[in-house]
Amino acid sequence: MGLIQLRDVLKTYHAGVQQVDAVRGVNLQIKAGEFAALAGPSGSGKTTLLNLIGGLDQASAGQVIVDGCNLAQCSPTELADFRLQRIGFIFQSFNLIPVLTARENAEFVLMLRKVPVEKRHDRIDFLFRELGISGLEQRRPMELSGGQQQRVAVARAMAAEPAVVLADEPTANLDSDTATDLLFLMQRLNREQGTTFLFSSHDPKVIGLADRVVNLKDGRIVE
């Protein structure tokens, strides 16, 4: 059985009187430990699908089951707890909290999980070493380059050892070399720590690094 299971998933948005079907009857399984990519042009439903898997949004129809949790049956509080315990997010615009240092940003999820300070420090020290950003712990996001910020975001996503890391266009705001470096890093973490990665991109170079590619078009999976 897959870590992520989507069965006949439909997501419809209402923009005024207009109805937009962002995801149309998607069936998908992602196994634990996979390094998978969602590929497709803008508007193909990549972000919507990641939001549904990450419990940021709920499907209009169908089932989204992640790590045994049927997200359609969860209350907002249960969804928050699900995200905290099982999901790591990496966003396109890094989304670091500007008033916190790199270390505090990376520790944020651990703080929410009430992990003791020493354990938090150890875990972040380890991840910063792995990600090659040791020494930047006390810098604020605006004092870091785009690539460094995204590495801090990866550390934040990995800090609580989630079941799956969801990355929405993680390299979209990075130059080509930095993007490739970041993907290699994510790949290494996937290999070494066994963390499942599902990321979206429309950059063929980035997509090419994935073990498995799921192509989307107009809200549907295409071969």
Partner: protein, 410 residues
């Protein structure tokens, strides 16, 4: 909690100018409310002290319903208990007084008067009217025909010091009686109606004239420390004979004009305080709401990372708490500074206002001085802090309703 506190603190200083403006408004309003209250309390105390010394004392003994009716027949003999009253530790002095309505006639004019029988020796150190008597006049003799006359009455009767005039009134037996008096000195209370009607003579002469020897209408008690927490009212009341219809009144029952004027003044001031605090609350709501609006995407991220809405609630609560606490500290610092100045130096109104300052029928010193009311200052601080916390409720509610997926699309 510590990390949230640090986050809340950092959030406050993202927009330094806005936070400083809000803090300045908070601190200024706290300072204003604390200082105004301390000054008012000081001025009210001055008024009450002036009022009770010239008027009916901190505590007063009357017989029956004399206070309401001013029935001259309701006199009483205080001899057997006034000495006991004087011996009470908290009592500074006991002033016996008689008030009689009558007519004063000079060779040219006549006017309605209040003939007041007093003990000048007892009154001189207490009663501000007698305190203002020129040293050259000296006090009138208790048993003589010497009288102190209000300055306006003196003018209206066309008298001068040393002039003779006749006072006519009805005694207790219902007979019209007259007495020839001589102007010994001129008194000026600053209260118009008193200065045009007051004639003061010795207590015994007044009592004899009214046909009520040894009796008085009023026994005014002046307390050493004013009306503090330990008023000896119960002790005094216990010393009054129970069979003569005597009753002890507090100053605010005996001087309702002054008491009501103070109440009204303070009520209007409290209304002002309320408006000031409401404006400040709106300011805090605005600051926090703006902060929420600006951070929609960030709050969305925090929620996406797995925080419950309550984390955002707590964070905004802490931001409001810090803002309120800083405002409280700054406001109380400046409020204390202003109060210290007003306690030490006061505000001398003589530079701005000519003539006497009368309020509620009482003339008071033209230098307004504050008093320290630390508990009240603390109370207003806690109010403001509570208002800040209340002000965070709506912004916190708005923050908690942010949908992460939507906020991230913006």
């Amino acid at each position: 909690m510590m990390s949230l506190l640090r986050l809340a603190w950092s959030n406050l200083w993202r927009n330094r100018r806005r936070t400083w403006i809000t803090l300045a408004a908070l601190a200024f309003s706290i300072m204003l409310v604390q200082t105004s209250h301390n000054l008012s309390t000081g001025v009210y105390s001055q008024m009450i002290e002036s009022g009770v010394r010239a008027g009916s004392g901190h505590l007063t003994v009357y017989r029956g319903n004399y206070l309401e009716t001013r029935d001259e027949k309701l006199g009483f003999n205080p001899q057997e208990f006034s000495e006991k009253l004087k011996s009470i530790e908290a009592v500074e002095t006991v002033l016996p007084r008689i008030y009689l309505a009558g007519l004063a006639q000079s060779s040219r004019e006549s006017r309605g008067i209040v003939l007041s029988g007093i003990d000048p020796l007892l009154e001189q150190s207490i009663n501000p009217i007698l305190k203002r008597l020129p040293a050259s006049s000296g006090l009138p003799d208790m048993a003589s025909r010497q009288a102190l006359v209000g300055d306006r009455l003196l003018k209206e009767l066309q008298l001068k010091e040393g002039s003779k005039f006749v006072v006519t009134l009805q005694n207790r037996q219902g007979e019209m009686v007259s007495e020839l008096l001589r102007v010994h000195g001129v008194v000026h209370s600053g209260i118009r109606h008193l200065d045009r009607s007051l004639v003061m003579i010795g207590l015994h002469r007044a009592a004899t004239l009214a046909g009520m020897p040894d009796e008085v209408h009023e026994l005014a008690l002046i307390l050493k420390n004013g009306l503090g927490n330990e008023t000896p009212a119960a002790e005094i009341a216990a010393l009054l004979p129970g069979d003569r219809g005597l009753r002890l009144y507090f100053w605010d029952e005996a001087m309702t004009n002054l008491a009501n004027a103070i109440k009204l003044d303070y009520a209007s001031q409290q209304f002002m305080f309320l408006i000031i605090l409401m404006i400040v609350t709106i300011g805090v709501v605005n600051t926090l709401l703006m902060a929420v609006m600006e951070r929609t995407r960030e709050f969305g991220t925090i929620l996406a990372l797995g925080a419950r809405a309550s984390v955002l609630h707590r964070m905004l609560f802490l931001e409001a708490l810090i803002l309120g606490a800083l405002g409280l500290l700054l406001g109380t610092f400046f409020g204390s500074l202003a109060t210290w100045y007003l306690v030490e130096k006061g505000i001398d109104l003589q530079n701005w206002i000519e003539g006497e300052l009368e309020f509620g029928g009482v003339v008071f010193e033209p230098v307004m001085r504050a008093v320290w009311e630390p508990l009240w200052m603390l109370k207003i601080g806690i109010y403001v802090l509570s208002l800040c916390i209340l002000a965070s409720l709506y912004p916190a509610y708005r923050a908690g309703r942010i949908v992460p997926a939507e906020s991230m699309r913006k």
